[in-house]
Symmetry: C2
């Protein structure tokens, strides 16, 4: 991979996780954050993530070096790649890009981890918009394979695909930009119904989560939703499914809930989560999530090692 030096702008959860992934792949990281404490804490946050990556077999013979930069300009001065993980605020990100354009090498790509803003909004006012891509990772990026990419300059998009693939990521390039890209649109759609099911008194928060984890979630970790309906059509596949069950699917779509996040429903969600968490702290839940992800990813590695025909 030609990129050896990556500037990380923003050292929150996403920035920390990117840092771990980059370092484990032998890439140098120049990190900057407006909050000096967050910046100083980066090496400490990265350590346990490097251990998790080692458990997955991701550890370069020569790990990358981490450098804490006092300014945006210092962070990007020698960067091949700039990964921006600033808060979801268009004006703030645009100001950062102006600084980057003034101080970074001309051929450095600027990649935004934005989950909810569009490329068009972010690229407005850039001298060369084509050097910007949105490259949305799924949290936590050092474990979750997906990176969703959108850009307008084909060579830059190709370079982004190669960059993230070299980091062991699964890249999906959007043909057209969309708020929430693909994954968060799907997640939003599902969660809306999950909130409806709680609000309508069909099931509690914890039971909705259990149904997902032991039902569709498990299945979607193996095959996608489209392909699942293809198999749901029996020998006739998706064609048979659409012909025979398409109308009942449309009726179900019409019956889906349209909840609002009213104070009452928010209260129900907060209480339901408290029951589900059963005293476990956020840190404990994150640790358990990561253990589950590492186990699932290890299972995938073993499966693809034994079979060339992964779905």
């Amino acid at each position: 991979m030609p990129e050896r030096d990556v500037a990380l702008l923003g050292c929150g959860l996403i920035g920390q996780s990117w840092a771990a992934l980059l370092l484990a792949h032998g890439i140098n990281v120049s990190a900057w954050d407006p909050d000096g404490d967050a910046l100083a804490a980066l090496p400490r946050h990265v350590l346990p993530m490097l251990d998790q990556l080692r458990a997955l077999g991701v550890a370069a013979a020569e790990p990358g070096q981490i450098r804490l930069a006092a300014t945006v300009e210092a962070a990007v001065a020698d960067a091949d790649w700039v990964q921006e993980n600033a808060p979801e605020n268009v004006a703030l990100k645009q100001r950062l890009y102006a600084q980057v354009q003034a101080a970074a090498p001309a051929d450095a790509v600027i990649a935004s981890s934005t989950s909810s803003l569009t490329w068009s909004a972010l690229a407005t006012g850039m001298a060369r918009p084509g050097r910007l891509v949105t490259a949305h990772p799924f949290n936590p990026p050092h474990l979750m394979p997906l990176v969703e990419i959108y850009g307008t300059e084909a060579a830059v998009v190709d370079r982004a695909v190669r960059f993230y693939q070299a980091l062991g990521r699964e890249t999906v390039v959007l043909k057209k930009e969309a708020t929430g890209h693909i994954a968060n649109r799907l997640a939003s759609a599902l969660w809306r119904e999950a909130v409806h099911i709680v609000a309508a008194g069909i099931a509690d928060v914890a039971d909705v989560d259990r149904a997902l984890v032991h039902g569709p979630g498990l299945r979607w970790s193996v095959i996608g939703a489209h392909l699942a309906y293809h198999l749901g059509g029996g020998a006739g596949g998706i064609g048979h499914y659409l012909q025979h069950l398409g109308p009942s699917q449309e009726r179900r779509w019409a019956s889906l809930g349209q909840p609002r996040l009213t104070p009452e429903i928010c209260q129900q969600l907060v209480e339901g989560i408290a029951q589900e968490a059963a005293g476990r702290s956020i840190a404990t839940l994150e640790q358990q999530r990561d253990q589950g992800l590492i186990a699932a990813l290890t299972a995938r590695q073993q499966l693809s090692a034994g079979d060339d025909h992964a779905v």
Copy 2:
């Protein structure tokens, strides 16, 4: 488990898979199907599923016996439990229940595998509606842990929970019945947006599926959607998330698509699936799905063996 003899009505995909699960747990199966060929093929279909269950460590010292019954009455005559897997047709299922009520022991529970019909519709006209439960498995039932249960008689619902838990299933009891129960409502909601993303030209079928499998699907195989947003709120959890990102979530909900399954969109889906399948037959895809599920389930078993605090 007190249930030793189960009558299976309907030997399609779901019936076959139930049969394998029951036999592997040492339970005798009396099977009936109006299609004599489907009935005769049952033992042959069950064999590879028993192998899959053995790979997961599910194999009773004394496996159950399988008996093919010529009539509904013969199938249910000595049954402790009746699992009905007939086509999704209310009148047809009600006719079956009339036969079952006339021929089965009075204390045998009637459980319907229905995915899309409600308990109320099915129970109409029964002498003792309380003996009916809906017990919806997720396809394929011998691998997918989830069984969603609804009934109106507490003792029968409790018995259903114990029955399916003894089969190693994860049970979720609905507080109120709902078309599509929980899991298929969630799946429908997600698929509607998945179809919209294809129809709107944002991404192809295969890329939507890849984004799901490497993003939210993987995550939802480990933690539910509600809990995921709890962790998305950082140290403040779901309360912080709802306060700060609730409005943007509502805006995203408002932006979700409302596609129809028009001939044009169906054509796009069929062609997209063909590209994704890339020549793989339904049988091959099913086999690959099952291999993936078995790997994921094995990883879960290992994880829960090593840790009492599974999420």
